[in-house]
């Protein structure tokens, strides 16, 4: 590696960073592909069906493991239809605006203590800022399609994401008060000491609020009113086809994995092992992320879609007061000798 560094000179840093980005993004995209497969299989079994089981590799079915690849090839070869009267540049820009933040947020996510692309001080703030940009893809798509259904979907999604961002932000304020840091590596290290030291226990109301707001932020069932197919067909991505649609799809699932990673890091101890005598490592964060992702799929198979005014009530009248009260509780306890309970 030293030899390569000398050979490339000043070009070393950009090339090395690019390599690290590929090492994060490539497995992420593969995870997205197989998350769609897992979703179809798990929900299938929950509804006493089998799910995809035909497409395999080299003539073997392999319980349908080739399905995501076949889907990707199909979407790539389909035509991208431009609706009449659509705002062409914005119509094509919208999927990019959706996937950009979904990938950029991964820059500061730590997978273990050393496996992090950019270990910056304000990484929690960075995540909040970047994920708040994701709504533009939805709004611009809905407006540029020049369709009433798409526009309704965009309006719903904008209101929903902005409302739940507040509750989510307050939940993160509780975490940073407990950890006394905005750096995600420090936040995980502050949770050392086993299962009972992770923040899900002292910050339990915030954990619930964060998890549910996370589902709402990524427009997943039961909060998927932005694409409620029984009311507004497919919502904001109604007019998208082929790869343009696939990019929205990618962004949604990448965001799902991101929220599961953040939940694991902030509330479930990240790469720390549940029992202090077991070694820490990437394995634990992967297991925790899979658990949270399974919860998301489980929600989708279980709950009927929320009505729109109920979503707004839950966000503004339930979650925000709960987070505000719990922040006061944390602040109060930290002034007493019992403050160690929250560290």
């Amino acid at each position: 590696m030293d030899y390569l560094q000398q050979l490339l000179g000043p070009a070393w840093l950009p090339i090395w960073t690019l390599a690290k980005i590929i090492v994060i993004v490539l497995p992420l995209l593969i995870a997205v592909a197989y998350l769609t497969y897992a979703e179809r299989k798990i929900i299938g079994y929950m509804q006493i069906r089998i799910g995809p089981n035909r497409v395999g590799f080299f003539g073997y079915r392999l319980i349908g493991l080739g399905q995501p690849i076949a889907d990707a090839v199909k979407l790539m070869t389909k035509e991208i239809v431009l609706p009449t009267g659509a705002d062409k540049p914005l119509f094509l820009l919208a999927p990019v605006l959706a996937i950009g933040p979904a990938l950029a947020a991964w820059a500061v996510v730590p997978f273990t203590e050393d496996w992090v692309l950019a270990n910056i001080d304000a990484s929690l703030l960075y995540i909040m800022a970047i994920t708040s940009m994701g709504v533009y893809g939805v709004i611009v798509a809905g407006w540029a399609s020049n369709s009433k259904y798409a526009f309704l979907g965009a309006m719903r999604s904008a209101a929903q994401i902005v409302s739940y961002e507040i509750a989510m932000g307050f939940a993160l304020v509780g975490v940073l008060m407990a950890a006394q840091s905005l750096n995600m590596v420090d936040i995980v290290n502050a949770q050392k000491g086993g299962f009972w030291q992770w923040y899900w226990l002292p910050l339990f109301p915030l954990f619930l609020v964060y998890l549910i707001s996370g589902v709402a932020e990524i427009n997943r069932a039961p909060f998927d009113v932005a694409e409620g197919e029984s009311e507004i067909v497919a919502g904001f991505h109604l007019d998208y086809s082929g790869m343009a649609f696939a990019v929205f799809f990618l962004a949604e699932y990448a965001n799902m994995i991101l929220v599961s990673a953040l939940t694991s890091i902030l509330f479930l101890g990240g790469w720390l092992s549940p029992l202090p005598f077991l070694p820490d490592g990437f394995f634990w964060i992967a297991a925790k992320m899979s658990f949270v992702l399974f919860l998301f799929l489980w929600f989708r198979a279980t709950f009927p879609r929320y009505r729109y005014d109920q979503i707004m009530r839950l966000g503004w009248k339930v979650f925000i007061p709960v987070t505000l009260i719990w922040i006061l509780v944390i602040g109060g306890f930290m002034q007493t000798p019992l403050g160690y309970l929250f560290h």
């Binding site: 960075y126 800022a129 407006w143």
Partner: protein
């Protein structure tokens, strides 16, 4: 030219172009989106100035919330841009005056050395300006900070009070009450005897 100034000129060029698009775009939605790009590149410039908290707050507050609601409204309005352009030449002198004053202020701040202001010195790498800003806001400037918060609160209450209309005929619903309802008290089970002559009850 070093890398930082290259990034600066790149961002500054995008910022100026986007700012120009805000006032020249024919479509108000395009203007608003150009404003989003302006804020985003401005945040990039602030990061170059090592003001990472301000930069992230700019994105979080203005790009992530304020502009979303702004675009939300602009998209639903049918704005005639020609109508709005009518008073352009009448307002030009006043606008020019404001722009000139702003330019003078910028020169005085940026050329601080010549006007007796001391230039800021670079901070060490361990310096966290989020922490420093928090300490300053909640100690030295706590009254000003609380005052600003109270003014905002009053503004929110006033906005709600102004738009709230009590209509005696409205059929409003209470989702809280609705979600608490169960079948009890709403459904009455009635044991009806079937009327069909060929029907025989199972227990006969």
């Amino acid at each position: 030219m070093d890398f930082a100034s290259l990034v600066f000129y790149f961002l500054a060029a995008i910022l100026l172009l986007a700012g120009l698009r805000v006032v020249t775009a024919k479509n108000p939605v395009h203007s608003a989106l150009a404003l989003v790009l302006t804020f985003f590149t401005a945040a990039g410039l602030w990061i170059l100035l090592e003001a990472e908290f301000l930069a992230i707050a700019l994105i979080l507050v203005y790009v992530g919330a304020v502009m979303v609601l702004f675009i939300f409204v602009v998209m639903m309005l049918d704005i005639n841009i020609e109508e709005m352009r009518k008073g352009f030449w009448d307002h030009l002198p006043l606008a020019g005056l404001v722009a000139g004053l702003m330019a003078v202020e910028m020169v005085m701040v940026l050329g601080g050395d010549r006007f007796g202001l001391s230039a800021p010195t670079a901070k060490p790498a361990s310096y966290s300006n989020t922490r420093e800003l928090g300490l300053l806001l909640y100690t030295d400037y706590v009254y000003a900070f609380e005052l600003a918060a109270v003014i905002l609160l009053v503004a929110i209450v006033a906005a709600i009070a102004l738009t709230l209309r009590r209509n005696p005929n409205r059929k409003n619903i209470d989702p809280g009450w609705q979600s608490r309802q169960t079948a009890k008290g709403h459904i009455r089970m009635v044991n009806l005897k079937p009327q069909h002559p060929e029907y025989k009850e199972a227990d006969e």
